[in-house]
């Protein structure tokens, strides 16, 4: 029974279904955080969670568990039956860029806090908005 369940989970279609629904669930949680919370750190965390979900979605659909990582070694002398390296390279660069944008966002938030003492978007009224 349990073995059957495991083999069913391992089939490519189920795996794809798990990746798609799971990463969309994670994306939805990040989206909820983006809407529901007002402190800047929480918003940045929500954005990062959404990014993580996107990376998992992208790589999970691009990879085939029956192929190996695209790196040659003692047992792999040729680039045959290996996973596609292009999505991996794309996601690698995306992760690095996410760090850069995150630190830029944090420094904006710090500077705003040092000038106005506010770290909550519900309280920001620098442009004369009514609260």
């Amino acid at each position: 029974m349990f073995e059957n369940l495991l083999t069913w989970l391992d089939s490519p279609q189920t795996l794809q279904a798990i990746v798609v629904t799971g990463s969309l669930l994670l994306f939805g949680i990040g989206f909820y955080g983006l809407l529901a919370y007002t402190r800047i750190i929480k918003i940045l965390i929500s954005l990062s969670i959404m990014e993580s979900a996107l990376f998992v979605f992208f790589l999970g659909l691009a990879s085939d568990p029956h192929k190996t990582a695209p790196i040659l070694g003692d047992l792999f002398k040729n680039f045959e039956k290996m996973n596609d390296p292009v999505p991996q390279a794309a996601i690698l660069t995306a992760i690095v860029i996410s760090l850069a944008t995150m630190s830029l966002g944090i420094s904006f938030a710090i500077e705003y806090y040092k000038r106005t003492g506010k770290n909550d978007i519900a309280q920001m009224d620098a442009l004369g908005e009514k609260r």
């Binding site: 495991l6 069913w8 391992d10 089939s11 189920t14 279904a17 798990i18 629904t21 799971g22 969309l24 669930l25 994670l26 939805g28 949680i29 909820y32 955080g33 809407l35 529901a36 919370y37 007002t38 402190r39 750190i41 929480k42 965390i45 990062s48 969670i49 993580s52 990376f55 998992v56 790589l59 990879s63 568990p65 190996t68 695209p70 790196i71 070694g73 040729n78 680039f79 290996m82 996973n83 596609d84 390296p85 292009v86 991996q88 390279a89 690698l92 992760i95 860029i97 996410s98 760090l99 850069a100 630190s103 830029l104 944090i106 420094s107 938030a109 710090i110 770290n119 909550d120 519900a122």
Partner: protein, 319 residues
């Protein structure tokens, strides 16, 4: 087993993400958030992407959490109870919207699934066939530094712009506003002992980028982490602005010059003009210009991220 691990990890990532958002204490929230990054490290290993897993471990769940924690330390006002209550009330009001959005996303996922029964195409399969000619054992490195080397140049430029922005924003006119707590004996001695080891590890990751998972981006961030340790434990320690400028701009210019040399000698930008025979694959000196490019990227990323971390910690004027 793959399916079970994927399902379990994704579910626990979702639970941890939800808990991280529901925390009212921001520090706990960030620590839980780095757990989400840890979950995606596991997933990337399962998806046969060790390069991405290493990057996510170093950046996604490592330095990102540190950057967020530094931000919290600077914005150290504790939220008043009333604020948190208001936040939660808004949360409850918006849960309905979020649930609706989630439902739409799930429906979208279900329709996507119908379309996905066709085989996902392999844009990189053709590149993989040519990867032998690039002469690097790690195909991801070949793609990042050689086949898509021009894009990587643009990406490094984005990193440079972000570092410039951080430097521009976090400049205090007078004095400094550093995060610093007097370290105890063990931390002070231990940081001196660990600094060269972490630096060595970063250099190892950079130099072996064309042979094994890792490379300039990951190793550069590890080097920045080594400097982070020194910023936290030594009050007077600071990067020399001159050396950082020389390293950063020198590496960037060397990258462009390498590309132009390839254009001159081989007729294409970043052409591999050094010898890179296929039988030398797996040796430390192999792959022509690929390891050189990754070392340049490592120098550039290492100096940029170290600069960003120093700026975030010190907000000082003369750096």
């Amino acid at each position: 087993m793959t399916g079970f691990i994927t399902l379990f990890t994704l579910l626990s990532m979702s639970v941890v993400a939800l808990f991280s958002l529901r925390q009212s204490n921001l520090t706990q929230s960030v620590v839980l958030f780095s757990g989400v990054g840890l979950g995606s490290v596991v997933l990337f290993f399962i998806f046969n992407a060790p390069d991405v897993a290493l990057t996510e471990a170093v950046i996604g769940s490592g330095i990102t959490a540190v950057v967020l924690l530094i931000g919290i330390r600077h914005m150290h006002k504790e939220p008043e109870i009333e604020e948190v209550m208001m936040e939660n009330r808004r949360g409850i009001r918006r849960i309905a919207i979020a649930l609706l959005v989630l439902l739409t996303l799930l429906l979208l996922g279900k329709t996507l699934l119908g379309a996905l029964s066709v085989e996902t195409s392999n844009a990189g399969q053709a590149l993989l066939e040519h990867a032998m000619q690039a002469g690097a054992a790690n195909a991801v490195t070949s793609v990042v530094t050689y086949f898509r080397g021009f894009d990587t140049l643009g990406e490094v430029a984005v990193l440079f712009l972000a570092a410039t922005g951080v430097g521009l924003l976090l400049t205090v006119e007078k004095g400094e506003d550093a995060i610093y707590i007097e370290p105890n004996f063990i931390l002070r001695i231990g940081s001196g002992f660990l600094f060269p080891l972490i630096l060595l590890f970063g250099l190892y990751i950079i130099v072996h980028g064309h042979l094994s998972p890792g490379g300039g981006f990951q190793g550069g961030v590890v080097i920045a982490a080594a400097f982070l340790l020194l910023f936290l434990t030594r009050r007077r320690f600071g990067l020399s602005h001159k050396i950082v400028t020389i390293l950063e701009s020198g590496a960037g210019m060397a990258y462009v010059l390498l590309g132009l040399t390839g254009l001159w000698l081989m007729g294409l930008f970043l052409g591999n003009f050094l010898p890179h025979p296929a039988e030398k694959i797996g040796m430390l000196v192999s792959g022509g210009i690929i390891p050189i490019i990754y070392i340049l990227i490592g120098i550039k990323v290492g100096s940029e991220i170290s600069y960003v971390v120093e700026k975030l910690i010190k907000r000082s004027h003369d750096v």
